[in-house]
Symmetry: C2
Subunit: 133 residues, 2 copies
DNA sequence: GTGGGTGCAAATAATTTGCACGGTA
DNA sequence: TACCGTGCAAATTATTTGCACCCAC
């Protein structure tokens, strides 16, 4: 059932938490900022607070339910963690976000870190692209 | 001479601008935040204002003298644009920034964008690493 | 019932902007 | 001298925190 993921994270199953989680589950592969969630959840129903959204997003990120990203525009955005790692391209004209995964790229990064005497912990990679004319 | 780059950018050669540019030129390959510059320039000499630092950094970035980066810690950092593109690794334990360049990685990104029907305009890639024990 | 959770408003942090004064070309 | 540039303080934007009330367990 719905609240199980929340319970597994050691959190009480409350209305705001359910609303945030369902919001992401209904829109797989999409990315939202705290303010997106605040505006949309509030308009469609309850009197949820922006501070609560931020708190819930942080808790869900810590619990591994959501992934946080910082594209080049000041605001952080979140997406559902499906367990399948991928990177992002951002269309500079439309702002559209495209997810992709490339094994060769992943391996290359691990090798690069090793080449400098390090172990790869995480990486952040965004390609800014434009549609070919 | 020193002020030429500033003049070429269509800006007047003023003390704060010279101070910021010289600060970077004396520390090649290093990265600084607006607040780093503010604290260090102010302590060593003049009564430069933080707002001026931000204005000068934005102008220098627009002029191509500096490159702006957003690592995963809220603050933006800047480095001198030497014309030689490179990416960064951040040591998660020490915060140290390591610059690197890998042709294979660059080519792979171009190919990936193309594979999805796009042209690569720019990219942002940071590897978060840890020293191998 | 109790301790965690919530909304609201106030607090922070990073950055930007308005304004009167000051310095460069 | 004309205007751009500057320092300071106030304004913005994104996010966090304090607090009294509320609700899931």
């Amino acid at each position: 059932m719905k609240g199980q993921d929340i319970k597994n994270a050691g959190l009480k199953v409350t209305l705001p938490r359910l609303q945030v989680l369902e919001f992401f589950e209904k829109r797989p592969g999409e990315h939202f900022s705290a303010d997106d969630l605040f505006t949309q959840i509030r308009s469609s129903s309850s009197d949820i607070g922006l501070a609560t959204i931020y708190r819930v997003l942080n808790q869900f990120e810590a619990a591994g339910l959501l992934i946080k990203h910082q594209f080049d525009n000041g605001q952080s955005v979140y997406e559902l963690d499906t367990g399948e790692h991928h990177d992002h391209m951002v269309d500079v004209d439309t702002g559209q976000v495209i997810e992709f995964f490339d094994k060769e790229l992943e391996d290359l990064q691990i090798q690069l870190a090793k080449k400098y005497g390090y172990k790869l912990i995480d990486h952040n990679m965004v390609l800014y692209v434009q549609k070919e004319k």
